[in-house]
């Protein structure tokens, strides 16, 4: 039986192997090494076969030349001369010399020292007996001579086989090195990737379990991992900001609702404990209803902002004739603003259209004009201007009232922001926030500036052709 410890070791090994097999990092690294090994094999095979074929051709050419020379010799000077030539060649101490044999019709060797049976005519591989090395293989060419004898010229293919073996051995070593390097490289690369990704995963786990301040580790190399970490960190910052905003909005909402609800409660309380005069009670109830309407309106505005920020309204976007809309709204507003004791004027360029939601754009303009008349003293001038600027539609609502200090201009766009100076005016601090949401859903820019004196709020919409 296997001892328990060995069992545990094996199981651990198995788990490690499995986790490597399941790891994309290792899989990619190993696949890469395997591809290199395959490439090495392919290259080896190519070199081997090409070299082999080239050497073979060279050998054949040598045999053929020799054979032709001997045949010419025979034709010119007869069998005796041939035998002599062969004997001379065999006698010389030449390296890589060729083997010769001449057979008569009965298969008897009549010249040459090549010990081999009488071969067929043509190219072939033959075996011959060498006194020093035993049976060897050779490449041979046999041709018939006019007297019926057969001339055989052969070359020992041992040299060729030696070259082949060398090539194969070299490539075997190369393949081994490639595979070994590949495996080691794959293990290192896989481990590196896993460690990098593991760190990101561990951070994500920590964030999931509630530590929202954790951020992805960023190295010094600015590689893909660092870039990914940076992007993830930006996303986390954004989420954290949104969560913060949500918390802020919830507490602001609770705070903003408390006031009207408390007033409502007091009113109902007074109605209940006051004189039992039916008319007075009716009046108290009436104003209680108005107070609750205020609360409902606040909620409606919040819901509307969320709907706009959700972006779903984009689906119903159509061409909006801004020139017509602004003119219409301004004409509609003249009585209201005049009655409030302010001067209202507008200049509108013709043929300006944008892509959007007519009601939302109208709402934005109304909110801006409304702000201009609520936050300025009587006899102020309010001006609306629609112009085309660099293929954009520029809509500006300006006044010559007290304006907004530069430090507060960014803040007033936020939800529920009401500056101290406007505490006494009606409103719930959502008007500009809604304008910002509408601008964003229309991919328009919202600029708040100094009209010197007064405030100028500008919306810059991307224009479409009228």
């Amino acid at each position: 039986m296997m001892p328990l410890r060995r069992c545990v070791e094996l199981a651990t090994e198995c788990a490690v192997m499995r986790s490597r097999r399941d790891s994309a990092a290792y899989r990619i690294a190993f696949t890469y090494s395997a591809a290199f090994a395959l490439a090495t094999i392919a290259l080896g095979s190519f070199v081997y076969f090409t070299a082999n074929a080239a050497f073979m051709r060279q050998l054949d050419a040598r045999i053929e030349a020799e054979s032709n020379e001997l045949v010419a010799d025979y034709r010119a000077e007869g069998p005796g001369e041939l035998r002599e030539t062969i004997a001379t060649r065999e006698g010389g101490n030449v390296k890589n010399r060729l083997g010769y044999a001449v057979f008569d019709l009965h298969g008897n060797r009549v010249a040459g020292v090549l010990v081999t049976p009488r071969p067929e005519v043509g190219w072939q591989r033959i075996s011959f007996f060498d006194a020093r090395e035993g049976v060897e293989r050779a490449r041979a060419l046999a041709v018939d001579l006019s007297d019926g004898t057969r001339l055989v010229v052969a070359a020992d293919s041992e040299a060729l086989e030696h070259i082949d073996r060398t090539i194969l051995a070299l490539f075997a070593v190369a393949l081994f090195v490639v595979i070994a390097l590949g495996v080691v490289g794959a293990l290192i690369l896989g481990g590196y990737l896993r460690a990098k990704i593991g760190r990101i995963g561990a951070t994500a786990e920590a964030i999931i379990s509630g530590d929202l301040l954790q951020r992805m580790p960023i190295g010094t190399r600015n590689d893909e991992f660092d870039q990914l970490s940076r992007t993830l960190n930006r996303m986390l910052d954004q989420i954290a900001a949104l969560l913060d905003n949500l918390r802020q909005v919830s507490s602001d909402l609770a705070h903003d609702l408390r006031t009207p609800l408390a007033r409502l409660r007091n009113q109902l309380d007074r109605a209940l404990s006051g004189p039992e005069d039916a008319r007075a009670q009716r009046a108290a109830l009436q104003s209680a209803i108005e107070r609750s309407d205020e609360v409902l309106a606040l909620f409606a505005a919040i819901l509307r902002i969320s709907e706009i920020e959700g972006g779903g309204v984009r689906r119903s976007f159509a061409r909006v004739d801004l020139t017509a809309l602004v003119t219409e709204l301004c004409e509609m507003y003249v009585p209201a603003i005049d009655d409030n004791g302010r001067q209202f004027s507008w200049t509108v360029q013709p043929n300006i259209a944008i892509e959007g939601d007519r009601e939302l754009v109208a709402q934005a303009i109304i909110n801006l004009v409304n702000n201009a008349q609520v936050h300025t003293p009587r006899h102020s001038a309010v001006h609306v201007q629609l112009t085309e600027e660099d293929r954009n539609a520029r809509l500006a609502v300006s006044d010559n009232g007290p304006g907004v200090p530069a430090k507060d201009r960014e803040r007033i766009v936020k939800r529920f922001t009401r500056l101290e100076s406007s505490r006494s005016t009606p409103g719930h601090g959502l008007g500009l926030n809604m304008v910002a949401a509408i601008a964003s859903v229309h991919r328009a820019r919202l600029l708040i500036g100094d009209n010197a004196p007064g405030l100028i709020v500008t919306l810059i919409f991307p224009r479409v052709d009228a």
Binding site: I289, R304, E307, G312, E331, P335, D339, E359, A362, I366
Partner: protein, 227 residues
């Protein structure tokens, strides 16, 4: 025979709130709690108007509405919804709703809308002239007379007066006016309705002193038949 108002609403509290309110207005109401019930009742009995909740168990409100319209039942339908989204409103109106009201709503708003729906003059009668009390308007020539004297109105004031006169004797709410006169399906939270109304009123009262437009506090406005 007309048997009052069908209220298709699955939430018991809302249904009760609507029924009691309608009772107080002298309207009999029949309640259906599922889409199938609502469809069945609407197909077999004739109602003055149907109040249809969008979210009903079983068959949803918009499907009920589509089937009714497919069956050529043209009873006016007021769609109730908890969703105030633009797309939902468009979907409801395309399905054949005559009016659309987002929850939560004031009973006075519902009552005003139901009144308008029940007494709506079918479009077939192309009205070109409306006369209420001492006021008359000519829709073709866009002329207004009060106590036989012409009055000049701005286009928006004319639309406002027309809407009030078409519904003479009935309350029109501020939101209804925003929808019908300004084509705003949202509350811009401004006093444009009030401002235009006071201008219109001033112009009407310039020629005859008695007030033709009555303000119903917290609800809306009403054109008096007798002034």
């Amino acid at each position: 025979m007309l048997t009052g108002i069908l209220v298709a609403e699955d939430d018991a509290e809302t249904a009760e709130f609507i029924s009691v309110g309608l009772d107080a207005l002298g309207q009999r109401s029949v309640r259906a709690a599922t889409g199938e019930d609502a469809l069945c009742l609407a197909m077999t009995e004739q109602f003055n108007v149907i109040v249809l909740d969008r979210m009903l168990p079983g068959l949803d409100g918009v499907s009920v509405l589509r089937r009714l319209r497919a069956a050529k039942i043209q009873t006016p339908v007021l769609l109730l919804t908890a969703l105030g989204r633009i797309e939902d409103r468009v979907e409801g109106l395309e399905a054949g709703a005559d009016d659309y009201l987002v929850k939560p709503f004031a009973l006075s708003e519902l009552a005003a809308r139901l009144n308008a729906l029940m007494r709506r003059v079918p479009e077939a009668h192309a009205v070109t002239r409306i006369e209420v009390g001492t006021t008359s308007i000519d829709l073709l020539k866009r002329q207004v007379y009060r106590c036989s004297r012409p009055i000049t109105l701005q286009p928006r004031e004319f639309r406002l007066l027309e809407e009030l006169m078409r519904n003479a004797g009935r309350v029109i709410t501020r939101t209804m006016l925003l929808e019908r006169v300004w084509d705003f399906h949202f509350d811009p939270q401004t006093n444009i309705v009030e401002t235009h109304m006071s201008r219109l009123r001033a112009k009407l009262n310039e020629v005859c002193a008695n007030d033709a437009i009555e303000t119903v506090r917290g609800v809306g406005y009403r054109m008096r038949r007798d002034a």
